[in-house]
Symmetry: C2
Subunit: 216 residues, 2 copies
DNA sequence: ATACTATTGTTATATAATTAACAAGGAGTA
DNA sequence: TACTCCTTGTTAATTATATAACAATAGTAT
């Protein structure tokens, strides 16, 4: 059993979604139990790290047996707050907003998409994945009425600042930011910045690196 | 000056795109020079880390002056291989594929989108962002003829395995994988896995964490 | 020209993260 | 039930990363 007072490192938190996804796969395959060793081989991390990671939250296994997949899946889901039924809105019904709205993974992970907003009259009223795009002017009212937890930002550059301000004022608890700019907010609102071009740049580096290795 | 023989840690590579983006902003603002200290404040990292990071590649600044923004931007771009004009294809013209194809950031970072492919007859022939969607059956021929460097995978679950195999056989050097499964390939092909639901899960954790802080 | 200031590159130190090791204790088996 | 074998939780050792410190040096002002 672990002492909750020591904060869980960020690197550990970042690994949890990966464990979660993988355990979901095992569940689908109807696998009941797994050892840290078996997981380690499949996921390409060390068994030691897996045990260490889980131990930050108290440990979920049993000596001589391993981990019950379903139980572990549920626990990690709880830790991540996926069973809280957090609701979200998407601001910006452009290509990316549309893609995310149609992305079933979000719902599969326990999030509820409550609404999509845009400011373009041509887009307002159109239907995406069964949901009508609403006027961004109604955003505040909608968010507070429905107690929306998360705002997903997929608006163009120029609109970011205003959008963020309005979302925060409306009382969202977290922002998933796909816009170019790195957001950092006060301590009341959580932020996760996603930059789609970053992994492409990293990939580019890796390609170059491999090329050089081959030359040497 | 630095010894190239010691491999640059992964964490450093992961930070380079962020520096690059930020320097791009400074360039837009017509800022000519910047010190590690000033950058540090704006980017919320330590000045020491910035100097240390740049030093892995030999250091790009001058004592008493700082860094020339344009020069540094160019150098980091070179390191990342952004000036190599890598070409890419997108496989899967669903919502996400469409969104990425319309995403101007990729082109802005120096990548060239050479083509988009799909296997759905209803989609083949439609135009996305000025490009006609091609039949996935022509993929191999297209890739080798145009010496395509990068394959972006946005196909549904069932099609991933086959798509990957065909891309690799066609000779792409890197894969940007948006599919559910974690890819790991042989040493000839670089891979970067992107899981859009991961940051949402992390955000969920952060929200929960903040809630608990406030309760205590 | 000279002195002063700013800021790097780089080395040393401290902190964090990962891996290894192993005792403790269930699970499986006879 | 008793014995053996697994596999965890946890502590210890190692490795990696981040921060701090500072000498070297170019820029700037006088």
């Amino acid at each position: 059993m672990n002492d909750k007072s020591k904060k869980v490192p960020d690197v550990v938190i970042k690994r949890l979604p990966r464990y979660y996804r993988y355990l979901g796969e095992l569940l689908n395959q109807d696998i009941k139990r797994i050892s840290s060793n078996a997981l380690s081989e499949k996921m390409n991390v060390t068994a030691s790290q897996i045990r260490q990671d889980f131990n930050y939250f108290g440990g979920f296994g049993q000596q001589g047996y391993g981990y019950n997949v379903e139980y572990l899946y549920g626990e990690i889901g709880d830790i991540l707050g996926l069973n809280d039924g957090d609701t979200m809105v998407i601001i910006g019904a452009g290509n990316l907003g549309k893609a995310l709205a149609s992305h079933d993974t979000f719902e599969k992970r326990g999030f509820k998409l409550a609404g999509i907003f845009d400011n373009n009259p041509d887009v307002i009223g159109t239907v995406i994945n069964g949901r009508e795009v609403m006027d961004v002017d109604c955003m505040e009212e909608f968010i507070s009425r429905n107690r929306v937890d998360i705002g997903v930002i997929t608006v163009p550059r120029g609109a970011v600042e205003e959008t963020v301000e309005r979302l925060v004022k409306s009382g969202v608890k977290g922002l998933l930011n796909f816009s170019y700019m790195e957001l950092k907010l006060g301590k009341d609102v959580a932020v996760e910045n996603v930059h789609l071009s970053d992994p492409l740049m990293t990939l580019s580096y890796k390609i170059k690196e491999k090329k050089q290795e081959n030359e040497v």
